[in-house]
Symmetry: C2
Subunit: 362 residues, 2 copies
């Protein structure tokens, strides 16, 4: 990499494509002859309208989003969406959640404020190291939606096959795998993703919502900002949006299209994760924390099984110049987050380091 | 100005200091040897903790914020604060609001969802062209707070003397005059400001709140994100914050300190606004929309009194290369927003243009 940049394995915010950062830098003092930086533009100006329109169009093209879905750019991340989803979608006051780790648990805790939450499947029994079988769940008829966290950032699991919702609306938190692979939007009622993991700067969520789920008969105490309708009716500009994040994310959407779209991104992500999983599977010191069939392509937690050894490798990784490899305390060990913008060379360098460490600690 | 930049009179987002933008550009590919752009940093990293700590320290120094006030960086702007203020501060379910224009009206509409709102003074009778006398308001004893919008962006009024709240908590929306002049924080219970007008990029509010007003006995349906306590207890990092906005705003705080602080900023803002007001007061074609004693130093609406002439001058201003001068439809005419980062040369260039226009339309 140019500019002495580091391989940053942070779980988020995380790496962005170098060419995108270069473009942003070059447009800083004067965006395409507008005489302004994007941070200085009125969101009601023609030049900004073009930026947001193009961002939405590129995202629609990338994900093949059907016309009956709205794309919303909403400030705030997961913490706000954990409340917005039940506030807007719990029409009959009942929802089913699948508990697969830290982030689905946070969503469950918040949803309980707004109605009845049924946990219809869980992998808590094995420290969230797998995705439960969801082919035949006890979903009540009056359930408003079924909620999943499609990639658990901390626990390192991914849904490779969606749950059978028995005809109910599926809601998915895609934050840590958004745009990492093709996605059939029609399978979902609502997809949301905080953009700070796999796309751009922290401070915004993308919400993709089927139009018939946008309601205006909410609890009268719902803040106007927290109604999806507010954003849907105003092209995400009822209020001043996070213009900078829209601009940066738009550039990443275009970068992904030029790369060959989500099919190509998935190919690269698989190759990259494979480098690390192959090493873990043959290592005698390290092992992955997740069952092979449910492994994430984005977040790879692994342990030695010995706390002191875990601490030693974390310390050595820092000395070797790798950033943010320490695992979350709930899993322990290490975690390598290898989002879209991490080059395969980062995975290779990490494995070379781990191999050397293992060699030296036989 | 370098880089062919324009005099941008937008009401917000708006101009930022050129030297700040240059610094941001120069740190884009690798922030101070970290190997990352600030957009890519884990918010839990030491390097980012230093950025947020320094931003808070510089703001505290600039405003001389007393130790018993918390400084919070919260995603979202006014629309979210309009709800957060009553959700958190309406302990007895009653608040007094002073109605001075578009933005206080929006705050009133949202607050009514959460309790009883008494409008104790209003300037609606004269299209919000003045600040009402607030020396002796009918404030009930059990009122939780008195709310003002300290600078009405659309209507162009500013409070030059705060209302007599008779010992009740004063809450102020300072969005469009934040850091434009010295401010005695101890006069307020809570100050909030969306940063996109006078500081940095859209996507964040700064909230300055007296510690004893931070409660945890709120309505159990309050989203965790919307409790000030959530942010206060976690150094504004319960969740991933808008790291980029914190970084950019921090640079502006430091820029203002180096300039000589808010006293110097006020001196410059007065001189700059004076250029425009002096012209308006002697013009036979244009007149300011606000009574002289309540005029804003930031937003200057003015009209010819003739709709066709107003339209002609707006069209001519665009041709002359001025951006965003059209007035809001509720006031008509033109509006020049001359925030902190607008150089006096911008005001002078505008007046030269208006003088020429007047000359040609005698």
């Amino acid at each position: 990499m140019k500019y002495d940049r580091t391989f940053n394995f942070s779980a988020g915010p995380a790496m962005m494509p170098e060419s995108v950062l270069e473009e942003i830098r070059d447009e800083m003092m004067n965006y395409r002859g507008s005489g302004m930086c994007v941070m200085e533009m009125s969101h009601r100006s023609k030049v900004f309208q073009q930026i947001i329109d193009e961002a939405e169009a590129d995202l629609r093209a990338l994900m093949h989003i059907p016309d009956n879905y709205k794309v919303l750019f909403i400030q705030g991340g997961g913490t706000l969406q954990f409340a917005m989803v039940p506030m807007n979608l719990m029409k009959h006051g009942k929802a089913c959640y699948i508990e697969t780790g830290t982030w689905s648990k946070k969503a469950i805790a918040e949803a309980k404020k707004y109605g009845e939450v049924q946990i219809v499947a869980s992998s808590a029994d094995k420290n969230f190291s797998y995705i439960p079988d969801c082919s035949d769940l006890p979903i009540p008829d009056d359930c408003d939606y079924v909620y999943i966290c499609e990639n658990e950032t901390i626990n390192g699991t991914t849904w490779h096959k969606l749950p059978n919702t028995k005809g109910h609306v599926l809601v998915s938190d895609q934050s840590s795998m958004f745009l990492s692979r093709p996605c059939n939007v029609a399978d979902y009622g609502l997809i949301w993703a905080g953009v700070q993991k796999n796309v751009g700067p922290a401070g915004m969520s993308v919400v993709i919502i089927r139009e018939d789920l946008i309601r205006d008969d909410l609890d009268p105490k719902t803040p106007i900002y927290m109604m999806y309708k507010t954003h849907a009716d105003n092209g995400s500009m009822y209020n001043t949006p996070n213009c900078w994040a829209i601009y940066c994310c738009g550039k990443v959407f275009k970068y992904l299209r030029n790369l060959g779209g989500l099919e190509e991104m998935e190919r690269r992500n698989k190759a990259k994760a494979q480098v690390i999983y192959d090493f873990l599977d043959k290592s005698k010191l390290f092992r992955g924390a997740v069952v092979p069939q449910d492994r994430s392509l984005m977040n790879i937690p692994f342990v030695t099984g010995d706390k002191d050894m875990d601490a030693a490798v974390v310390a050595a990784s820092k000395e070797a110049g790798f950033d943010n490899l320490k695992g979350h305390k709930s899993v322990g060990g290490l975690r390598a987050s290898v989002y879209n913008a991490m080059p395969i060379e980062g995975a290779q360098a990490l494995v070379a380091f781990l191999e050397k460490f293992e060699q030296e600690h036989k």
